[in-house]
Point group: C2
Chain length 370, copies 2
C-alpha cells in the first residue's frame, strides 16, 4: 500500500457499503461502488458508478478503477460477479453467491458440512408441496428459493389443508418447504477469514425480529457457554474453508434444545454485526476490508456489552437519541419509507443489565419519534 492507495470495488452501494467505506478509508483504501440506484448511501464515501449489473461496459469501467472487488449485498447477479472475477480478484469468491442466493443450495451446503438445518424439500409444483408436507410434517414454512428477505416470499403452512392457499400466495417460482424447528431464540455468528486462511470470530449475538425485520441485536448474547460458542465457530469455519472464503460471513442460528441449527448465511457484513463499530476493538466492516485487501485481521474482542437497535421507517430526532448516555447514532442518508432500514443506534454499557435498561429507554425514544 506504500504510496498508492489500494482501490476496492464494491458491488452494491447501500448502507453496508457506506460503512465499509467509513472503515476502509482510514486504511488508505479508495472505494468505487457499483449500484444502479442514483442516491446510493455509499456514494458519500467513494466514487459511484450508476449502472445496471448487466451493463458490461460499466462493469469494465468499474474493473479498470479498482484492484480488488467485494460485494455488500448477496443478490448481485452471479453473472456480474463472474464477469468481474474474470478481470479482478473478487472476495468472497462468486460461487459463494451461488450458494447464498438459493435457499436449497444454502441448506445443501450446510448439510454437506454436517451442519444441522431445518428439514427441507425443493418445491416446484403443488404436488411437490403436498409430498413435502406429508414427508416433513406441518407446521412448516414455504419460501421462495431466491430473493426472499425480511419475511417476504414466505407462507406458513399449519397443516396439509393449507397447501393450496400457500401455493396460490407464492407459487410459480422455485420454492422450498422447510419443516418447523422449535427454537428458543435466534443467534448469529460473525466470522471473518483472511486471505492467508486466518480466521477470527465475534462473540455470538442474540437477534430479535419483528415482522420479518431485525430490530435488536444484543452482543455478546447472554447464556452462551464455551461449548455453544465452539460449536458455532466450528460451523462457520467449515463454511469458510469449504468455500475458500475471504471476508466476513454471517450465519444465523436457531438456539434449540438439541443444539444450534443453521437458518441461513449472509456472505457479507451483516446487520447483526453493526454493534461492533463501537462495541468491539475492530469492527466487522474494518475486518472485511482488511480481509479482501490481504491484510491481517484485527482483534474482534468486545469492549464490554452492547446492543444495536435498527431505525426503521422513520428517522428519530438525533438530539433525542444522543441525549441518552452511551448512545451512538448511525444514519444511512436514505428517504423514509415503511419497513425501510434507515439507520441504527448502538448502546454501550459495562454489563448486560445496563444495556437492557438503556435499550428499553431508547426504544421509548424511537417509538415516540416514529
Amino acid at each position: 500500500m506504500h504510496n498508492r492507495s489500494l482501490r476496492v470495488g464494491v458491488l452494491g452501494g447501500g448502507q453496508l457499503g457506506r460503512m465499509l467505506g467509513l472503515a476502509g478509508i482510514p486504511l488508505g483504501v479508495r472505494f468505487t461502488f457499483f449500484d444502479p440506484t442514483p442516491d446510493a448511501p455509499a456514494a458519500a464515501v467513494g466514487d459511484h458508478i450508476v449502472a445496471d449489473y448487466e451493463d458490461t461496459s460499466a462493469l469494465d469501467t468499474f474493473c479498470d478503477s479498482v484492484d480488488v472487488v467485494t460485494y455488500e449485498f448477496e443478490n448481485v447477479p452471479v453473472v456480474a460477479a463472474e464477469y468481474v472475477a474474470a478481470r479482478r480478484p473478487v472476495w468472497p469468491p462468486p460461487r459463494t453467491l451461488h450458494v447464498a442466493q438459493d435457499r436449497v443450495h444454502e441448506k445443501e451446503c450446510f448439510r454437506a458440512l454436517s451442519i444441522p438445518t431445518a428439514p427441507f424439500a425443493p418445491v416446484d409444483t403443488l404436488d411437490d408441496l403436498r409430498r413435502a408436507v406429508e414427508t416433513l410434517g406441518a407446521p412448516g414454512i414455504l419460501k421462495t428459493r431466491r430473493l426472499g428477505y425480511e419475511g417476504k416470499g414466505q407462507a406458513r403452512i399449519a397443516s396439509l389443508d393449507a397447501v393450496e392457499t400457500a401455493w396460490n400466495a407464492i407459487g410459480g417460482v422455485p420454492l422450498v418447504y422447510e419443516g418447523f424447528v422449535s427454537f428458543t431464540r435466534e443467534l448469529s455468528v460473525l466470522a471473518v477469514r483472511a486471505r492467508d486462511g486466518t480466521t477470527a470470530f465475534y462473540p455470538l449475538v442474540e437477534n430479535h425480529h419483528s415482522e420479518g425485520i431485525l430490530r435488536l441485536s444484543i452482543a455478546p448474547a447472554d447464556g452462551v457457554d464455551a461449548t455453544m460458542r465452539a460449536c458455532a465457530e466450528a460451523y462457520a469455519t467449515r463454511v469458510l474453508e469449504s468455500l475458500g472464503y475471504v471476508g466476513v460471513l454471517a450465519i444465523e442460528l436457531f438456539d434449540t434444545p438439541n443444539g444450534l441449527v443453521a437458518n441461513e448465511m449472509a456472505p457479507r457484513v451483516h446487520n447483526s454485526g453493526h454493534w461492533s463499530i463501537e462495541g468491539a476493538e475492530t469492527s466487522q466492516f474494518e475486518n472485511h476490508v482488511r480481509a479482501v485487501c490481504g491484510l491481517p485481521l484485527g482483534a474482534t474482542r468486545p469492549w464490554g456489552h452492547a446492543a444495536m437497535l435498527n431505525i426503521i421507517g422513520k428517522i428519530p430526532d438525533a438530539h433525542d437519541v444522543l441525549a441518552m448516555s452511551h448512545t451512538h447514532l448511525h444514519l444511512y442518508d436514505k428517504r423514509e419509507a415503511p419497513r425501510r432500514k434507515l439507520g441504527h443506534v448502538t448502546v454501550c454499557a459495562d454489563d448486560a443489565a445496563l444495556v437492557h435498561d438503556r435499550v428499553t429507554a431508547l426504544r421509548r425514544v424511537l417509538a415516540r419519534d416514529a
Copy 2:
C-alpha cells in the same frame, strides 16, 4: 435532522478534516471542505471547494452549501472566518482564531484567566529581545508570534550573548521571547463544549516530541491524580467559557514541580487526541461534530489504555503494522515528504505496561520501514 442532512462546512481539508468527516457521516452529516490544496485528504469524505481563503466568491459558494461552519486548522485567515461568520454560524467563534494564531494573544488569554504560563515578552526589535532576556533570564526560546508550528520559527537562547544569532535567524517578524520552564513532561487536555454549555473532558494524555514534531501520545497519561486532572479541566473550562467556545479545544501543558503550566492551545481537534478513535467511547472527532451541530456530547471514557504513534515522512507497510496485535492504522492519503505527518497508528491494551511493550515493538516496525 429529520429527513434532511445537516451540512457542515470545514475551513481546511487536511487529515483532521478527513477524520471529522469519517466521524460525522454516520450522524447523517454532509461535509464541504474549503481548502486551496487540490489533493486535500478530506476530499475523500465530502465535497471540496478548491480556492484561496481570500476568494470571497468561493467563500460565498461555500456558505451557500452549508448550514454551520468549523475549521480544522488554526491558521485560517481571521478575515476569512469572519466573512463566513457574517453568513453562517461558525464554531468555535472566529475570535478564538485571533487568540490562538498569536503566541502573545494566547499567553495573554491564559494570564487573564489566571492560568500559569511561561514568562514572556513581545519582541519586535533586537533591543526588545535584549531587554526581554535581561528581564526574564536565559535560557529561553525566541519564537515567531504567528504561524509557528512543529518547531519552525524558533531559536533557543542559552545566554545574553546569543541574542544576535537568534535575532538574525528569525528576526524581522513579530516575535515573543519565552522564559525557560523546567518541566518533567508534556501533557495535553482535550476538552469539548456543546452549544448548550455542557463540557466533557478526555483523560490527560502524555506527549512525546522529537525535532518539534509530536511522535507519541499515551492515553491516559500515567501518574495523574485527581488534583492534577481537576486543575487541567478547570483551566480548560476557563478558556472554553471565556471564549464562548463550541467544539474540541486542546491545551498543551507542562508538568512541573510547581504544577501545570499552559504551553499553547489549539482551537480544534488535536493530534494528541487521535487515540480516542479506537481508545474512547466517543472520539474527539465525533464530539467536535456533535458540538458544532448542536447535538449532545458523547461519553469520553476510555475503553482501556492506548497509545498513538505518528507516521512521519515515510509510509510503513500496512501489512507489517497490522500484523501486530491490537494495532489500528490511519493513513491520510498524503504524499511522502520529510517531517510530514502521513498517518498514525493506535495501539490498545488493557494496561499501561502492555501498551508500552506494544509501542516499543511498533516503533521497531515503523523504523524498519522508514
